[in-house]
């Protein structure tokens, strides 16, 4: 019963987010602020993780193929497929559920606890549109983060593969080009947009409807991470079944 109530309140929240818009000039400022906080501030950690995980994928692939019949370009091929299809869109999104999601939940939750949301409501402002809509718009830029992650992941694989002596540069690049299916990139970005929407709305929902004090803000952040990750994994499965099966 509680789950039904939660699902209902999430969709009611979405309806309120897209109704009674905030004044344009203020909304513009809020969107720029959210782009800075959610997108720009995430680039460092995404770049770091992507580069090194890309390197590890290349090394692991190279170490696990000692059959001389398997072509050397498989290192580049496996790195490309792993990074583009799953690591960049899905696993970076789960990492972002922790970083971005807990930031969104705790900032909105703190506003709830300190009555700042009530202050917005009393002024006649649609607090959901004011707080959540700019986050959804800002996360339209999230695919750029994933594109950077894809590039750096593959670059990391190339650096680790070539300078670690596991592959030649030519073989690695050949692996990147062989059997390249453009639709795989389209598929990756389709699911990135869906994950971006989940990343913006689920943590906002957790923060907005939380009750209690500082301790509950912490609990809401944890719940937000759990719910967001679960939804990302489930929608990943559904989208993959629909688009690639």
């Amino acid at each position: 019963m509680k789950y039904l109530h939660d699902i209902g309140s999430y969709f009611l929240m979405l309806r309120a987010v897209f109704s009674r818009p905030t004044k344009g000039s203020i909304l513009r400022e809020l969107i720029f602020k959210e782009v800075d906080e959610l997108i720009i501030n995430s680039l460092g950690i995404v770049a770091f993780i992507s580069f090194f995980v890309g390197g590890v994928v290349a090394i692991q692939t190279a170490l696990n193929i000692d059959n001389p019949l398997i072509p050397e370009y498989l290192v580049g091929f496996a790195t490309r497929q792993s990074i583009i299809l799953e690591f960049a869109p899905t696993f970076i999104s789960i990492i972002m559920a922790g970083k971005m999601g807990s930031f969104i939940t705790s900032s909105i939750g703190s506003m709830r606890v300190t009555e700042q949301i009530d202050a917005l409501e009393v002024m006649g402002i649609n607090s959901l549109n004011y707080l959540v809509f700019p986050k959804i718009v800002a996360l339209l830029f999230y695919p750029f983060v994933i594109a950077i992650s894809m590039f750096l992941g593959i670059l990391g694989g190339w650096v680790a593969g070539v300078y670690g002596g596991f592959s030649t540069s030519e073989a690695f690049i050949q692996g990147l080009q062989v059997d390249f299916i453009t639709f795989h990139v389209v598929y990756a970005f389709i699911k990135t947009f869906v994950f971006a929407f989940i990343l913006a709305t689920v943590p906002s929902w957790q923060g907005f409807y939380m009750k209690g004090g500082a301790l509950e803000v912490g609990k809401a952040s944890t719940n937000s991470f759990v719910w967001t990750s679960v939804l990302i994994i489930l929608t990943n499965y559904v989208i993959t079944s629909l688009l690639l099966s």
Binding site: M111, D118, V122, M123, G124
Partner: protein
């Protein structure tokens, strides 16, 4: 003026407000008092429109909030100022931005005009040179003043305060009370204050509504409250040692 008629509010099976009827007069500081759990905050939130009443009417001037359409409700909200218990200033904005916020939302003034108005109200609440500071960089008393400045910046018709002097030292608490009363007279607004502070009752209680377990147990002003025979009120008023001693001295003198 705000008129409340037979107001009921329940949460599930819990009946919080049980048919309240009263009026809050224009140009006066109207106080809602009562023990914790008496329904003060729920009553205030109903007046603010944050809670919807189950039954009864809240009439602003001549129209009940229940009969207003969305545009009328929005326009009413633009005429309300609210001072929250914890000030509820926006952490991400400095003092100037906090006070300017309602103006930016609802007025079509130029930025220079808005800035002039912000400086005017900050000066009115006796704050200078704090424009660029953030809420966390000023004291609790100053935060309350900023909250008052933000509440009156749009020239509201109604000012609501939820325990405006809680957490303040007695001297600052009196200053805040007096400031609210002065502003009420100066701008001729209807002010409703939710409090359980007897000093506020003594200082600025021009109209007092006493709630007891969701019922309106008594109403009057700050001279009548010390003379009433209503046992609930006397229990509440004389629960403080200070007031007990004052009463004993008065009895001795008489």
């Amino acid at each position: 003026m705000i008129t409340v008629e037979n107001l009921h509010k329940s949460f599930g099976s819990e009946h919080i407000l049980k048919g309240l009827s009263t009026t809050f007069d224009k140009g006066k500081t109207n106080l809602i008092i009562g023990q914790s759990g008496s329904g003060k905050t729920v009553f205030l939130k109903c007046l603010l429109g944050l809670f919807e009443a189950n039954d009864g009417k809240i009439i602003f001037e001549d129209k009940a909030i229940q009969d207003m359409n969305d545009d009328e409700k929005r326009s009413l909200r633009e005429n309300m100022g609210m001072v929250f218990q914890g000030s509820a200033l926006f952490d991400s904005m400095n003092i100037e931005e906090n006070v300017m916020f309602p103006l930016r939302m609802f007025s079509k003034k130029k930025k220079s005009e808005m800035l002039d108005r912000v400086n005017e109200v900050l000066l009115r609440v006796n704050l200078e040179n704090v424009n660029k500071k953030y809420p966390s960089e000023i004291s609790g008393g100053m935060q309350k003043r900023v909250a008052i400045a933000r509440a009156i910046v749009n020239n509201p018709k109604y000012l609501f305060c939820d325990e405006p002097n809680s957490g303040l030292d007695p001297r600052t608490a009196i200053l805040i009370d007096n400031l609210i009363q002065e502003i009420t007279k100066e701008y001729d607004i209807t002010t409703v204050i939710n409090t359980h502070d007897m000093n506020s009752v003594m200082e600025i209680g021009e109209k007092i509504v006493f709630l007891q377990k969701g019922n309106l147990a008594w109403q009057g002003d700050n001279t009548q409250i010390f003379k009433t025979d209503n046992k609930d009120v006397t229990d509440f008023v004389y629960s403080s040692d200070l007031f007990k001693k004052i009463r004993d001295v008065q009895i001795k003198e008489n």
